[in-house]
Symmetry: C2
Subunit: 343 residues, 2 copies
């Protein structure tokens, strides 16, 4: 069933639970490391041919039910005039962090006719190659803002929070600029051929529910609301979001991503069973021997209890030290153990 | 009421909600930075005079209801034969990470007669100086293990998890060695004069509930169970522990620490109202203007709803960029707003 993933996102019956992996196109693959050798990540994202090749690598290895475009959440941010690079072993680093209203006002909003052409070209090329659905994506405005304000990855997001609390208007401007750019960028991906979209608001879980509700949720509603007419499934993902799950759902996605901390059935209950969920095996567990991985994956499936609307995935991206074979076995395991009879 | 903090830990009535701050003796204080200038953190911990001075610094500034010994969770680990240093801006770094059973077997267990004499001396000296209760502490074995196995701070704790899943026996040995050492160390602190104890299992929230239950909880039960006869309150703290709260409670502490992600009333419900809680203002919020800090602190108090057994604190340690005056105002705010009539 080639549309297993899309059907599960829409809470429709499926023959087997679909599986894909966040960062399935990534460093754990030797063929990825070979391509990456000596190359800059953002430069790879900007090459449609390389983006196509890297997107296809995991698809050649294992029967995942969706492909995710090889790209980086900082790609559109770089187009917005922010000097960004991806430092190996560190993550996104921003040359001139945003610290004032003036800094924020210099950020160039993405417009529909100026939206990252290389990414859209990669999507067009991929649709010709792929049998499984292609997922496009963007970073969530809070997560993007955290890199822009902190200047790099941060455990605490303290400057970002200080900005939102000390200058609500500047924060609102920043979120509006990022939010409208993300929306434009996601819409363009669908127009180019993406069949589903994920918003990675990876660090939203740094916020308590009241700050999330006040400072982030309105922008997320604009984004998911602005995608409805396109008719593609949308996935809303973050880590450490156990207390935010009902709010992630309120933003209006088709699917809410669950990290590994929250047991799937509890997370789904907080989300509501009328919305699909994606997850939620601990990515670090995939570094363990197969027997341990299998036991933990079966626990995830047990908690899903055969319900319609579960997309199997990890609770965060694939870690670089993951044995590729473990992921391939996981795909088979999930497919075998969730096979439904003809309906 | 000088024993406000101890009474609240024991769910007894208090005249006002007690307040202290994790890492209240720390880098946000100019007088701390002055002492630290050119000095190594572990060396400062090993000097009883400096540990006393640094413990007292916040007490001189603001009427907190408890002092916490200036020390570091890696102090006893260094005594166990592991080459540890604290790198400014990074955190604990371990020279030779534990990667095998042989590495683990070389770790020297702390014994009652060989327990970090400088720390105990600092505690004895402090008891002569302090009017408020003195909190001793140790790191939780999982958190200590994560530094020892990863070699430094880690967002994922992936090698630590890989070890627990791939060699349960080696993991059990490591937890037993660390757990018994932590217990010995904490008991010695009480014998030297500490009037309460906190276990900082800061990174336990990296684990899903099933791994926590299987790989960590038994050791935590040994620790808290092994402290009961001393009759001092014990606090069990970690961040990102929203899904683990009932398990943290099951370990047997008097008080469970709540990070800032979980609203206090929901966290307390998961813990159970027959155990005290500590928390839970977002430390990053303290970098905001006072009006925002005040509003968020009042939300915490509102959620505590005047219940007996709340110790006001941040949801994690004080951040280095926190204005000291904000903490002083927080102490006054909490004391003013929670004043009870004579009972």
């Amino acid at each position: 069933m080639i549309d297993r993933f899309l059907r599960a996102c829409g809470l429709q019956d499926v023959d087997r639970t679909p599986v894909w992996f966040m960062r399935q196109a990534g460093r754990y693959l030797p063929e990825y490391r070979q391509v990456r050798e000596g190359r800059d990540v953002l430069a790879m994202c900007r090459s449609p041919d390389l983006a196509v090749e890297l997107t296809l690598q995991p698809i050649r290895r294992m029967p995942v039910d969706a492909a995710i475009l090889f790209s980086d959440i900082m790609v559109p941010v770089a187009e917005m005039g922010s000097g960004v690079r991806i430092e190996p072993g560190v993550g996104p680093v921003v040359d001139s962090p945003l610290r004032s209203r003036e800094d924020i006002s210099r950020l160039r909003r993405l417009e529909p006719d100026s939206t990252v052409p290389h990414t859209l070209e990669a999507i067009r090329l991929l649709r010709k190659e792929l049998a499984v659905p292609l997922i496009g994506f963007a970073g969530g405005p809070f997560t993007l803002a955290s890199y822009l304000v902190e200047g790099g990855p941060s455990r605490t997001c303290e400057r970002t929070k200080a900005l939102m609390h000390s200058d609500e208007e500047a924060w609102a401007d920043l979120m509006e600029t990022l939010g409208s750019s993300v929306l434009v960028y996601l819409r363009a991906q669908v127009e180019a051929g993406a069949q589903a979209l994920q918003v990675f608001d990876s660090w939203a879980g740094a916020l308590d529910p009241e700050d999330y509700t006040h400072f982030v949720l309105p922008t997320m509603r604009e984004i998911f609301g602005g995608l409805i007419d396109l008719g593609v499934p949308t996935i809303h993902f973050g880590v450490g979001t156990g207390e935010l799950l009902s709010l992630l759902r309120d933003a209006g996605p088709s699917v809410v991503g669950l990290d590994w901390r929250v047991p799937l059935h509890l997370g789904w209950e907080r989300v509501g069973f009328d919305v699909a969920v994606q997850g939620n095996l601990d990515p670090a567990a995939c570094l363990a021997p197969w027997e341990a991985v299998e036991a933990k994956a079966l626990n995830v499936l047990r908690r899903a209890a055969g319900r319609t609307g579960h997309v199997f995935n990890l609770g965060h991206g694939v870690l670089p030290d993951t044995p590729p074979d473990t992921l391939a076995r996981l795909v088979d395991l999930v497919h075998e153990r969730t096979q439904r009879g003809p309906s």
